[in-house]
């Protein structure tokens, strides 16, 4: 239970800091809205093609927006050496990773709750019948994305280059994105589980591996 308590405390701390700083959430939201507009303006495609590529376009927005927020998550902890403080208070560094990922997931989740309905409205696509499955698959995909991204952001913030995170993260993420886009596209069309079950399996394997391995390796990358 101690574990959940720490994660909850960290989540509260991150939200409090965010509401005072107003940095990550608002920029992520406006950035994603901007990409939605850019997609609408630049792509001149008919409704059928749009429907085929709907989830793919949505995930392009999620990837670019998410990476913005994830990139910031540990940078703020370097100011005033606050990472050291957190580490002393928590004691176990892997819990810090998990709770940071949970906060990132919460931030991106908030952005998604606004952007996903907006996508359906702006592209005039009908809300799926099994919306729960659609959202579940997207949530699982986001989870894997956020965990791996949060972990890799620790590596990339300590380099000379700020834009390294997407370069390192996106190639590793490609199978996950492929699986989520395929699965949610099939759900959108009302396909039965047999047609996208294997994609769901792949998402779960990816989530499992890329939650477990970063936790095991986090002690090697953390700098106290």
């Amino acid at each position: 239970m101690k574990f959940a308590k720490i994660i909850y405390a960290m989540l509260c701390k991150d939200f409090k800091a965010e509401f005072r700083r107003k940095e990550i959430l608002s920029s992520m939201l406006f950035f994603s809205l901007l990409i939605v507009v850019i997609i609408n303006v630049t792509l001149n495609i008919n409704k059928d093609i749009l429907f085929e590529n709907f989830t793919g376009l949505m995930w392009i927005v999620f990837l670019f927006t998410g990476v913005l927020g994830i990139n910031r998550s540990f940078i703020n902890e370097r100011i005033n050496d606050s990472y050291l403080g957190i580490n002393l208070a928590v004691g176990e560094s892997s819990i810090i990773l998990v709770s940071k990922a949970v906060s990132n997931l919460a931030f991106i989740g908030i952005v998604q709750t606004i952007v996903i309905p907006l996508f359906f409205i702006l592209f005039s696509v009908k809300w799926p019948q099994n919306a729960f499955l659609f959202l579940l698959v997207n949530f699982l995909g986001t989870t894997g994305f956020v965990f791996l991204g949060t972990f890799l952001s620790v590596l990339t913030i300590n380099t000379n280059s700020e834009i390294l995170l997407p370069i390192v993260l996106f190639p590793l993420l490609l199978p996950l994105v492929l699986a989520v886009v395929q699965a949610s596209n099939l759900i959108l069309k009302g396909a039965p589980l047999q047609l996208w079950g294997h994609w769901l399996g792949l998402i779960l394997v990816f989530d499992f591996l890329y939650t477990l391995v970063p936790i095991l390796l986090f002690d090697f990358v953390v700098e106290v």
């Binding site: 380099t159 190639p171 490609l174």
Partner: protein, 226 residues
């Protein structure tokens, strides 16, 4: 490795490469349907094998580094990644040329091609991460972590891309051709030549890293004593 063994390995590699080239260009007959273009296959497959092998070596040496913190393993993974990147680029280039001649376009999203491309991107990210970190210990630790994480991704990438392509049946199957005995002998020798080349290059690139490290350390000592 001793200097003498290095020379011997170099000569063996050179002879094998010459022999493989002889087999490829003179001995083995050209494939019936594809003609002379098919000969690129011997380079392509051999380079792909070395590319994957190199990534495996990165993975193993990364684990070894995190277990021992011996900087030697960091040199090995860095050197292997560098060579692997070059070979993976050869794979993409030769694959493209072959595709142009055989399919009529430079690129198709065939599972093997896509997996190689993603692997190439992961290698590139690994090398970029290395070049972005100046502190040696940190560079070694971070790149070892990425070496492990990147390798785990390879089977997932493979499965995902294969399933993706079975959903789209309009793609032609690649690499399906009847291989004759002569062809498989040529291919084996070509793979051997490429592997030997890798084995010959790896210790040399490692040596470069080692010398680089020595220079850095000497420089630090000189600066400290100024």
């Amino acid at each position: 490795m001793g200097k003498k063994w290095g020379y011997i390995l170099g000569i063996i590699t050179l002879l094998t490469i010459i022999a493989a080239n002889y087999l490829i260009f003179i001995w083995v007959p050209a494939e019936k349907v594809m003609g002379i273009v098919q000969k690129i296959f011997y380079f392509h497959v051999a380079a792909a094998w070395v590319g994957f092998l190199a990534f495996f070596i990165v993975f193993i040496s990364s684990i070894k580094y995190l277990l021992t913190f011996n900087e030697k393993w960091d040199w090995y993974s860095a050197a292997s990644a560098e060579i692997g990147f070059v070979f993976m680029s050869i794979v993409l280039a030769t694959g493209s040329i072959w595709g142009r001649a055989f399919w009529g376009h430079w690129w198709t999203w065939d599972p093997r091609l896509t997996t190689s491309l993603i692997l190439w991107f992961i290698y590139a990210a690994y090398l970029l991460l290395r070049s972005g970190i100046t502190l040696e210990g940190r560079r070694a630790r971070y790149s070892a972590v990425l070496g492990i994480i990147g390798f785990i991704d390879v089977p997932i990438v493979w499965f995902s891309v294969r399933w993706w392509r079975t959903v789209h049946p309009n793609l032609m199957e690649s690499g399906k051709m009847a291989i004759t005995t002569k062809m498989s002998i040529t291919l084996s020798l070509s793979v051997m030549a490429f592997t030997l080349l890798y084995a010959f290059l790896l210790p040399r690139v490692v040596k470069l890293y080692q010398l680089d490290c020595t220079i850095q350390k000497t420089k630090d000592v000189i600066i400290r004593n100024l």
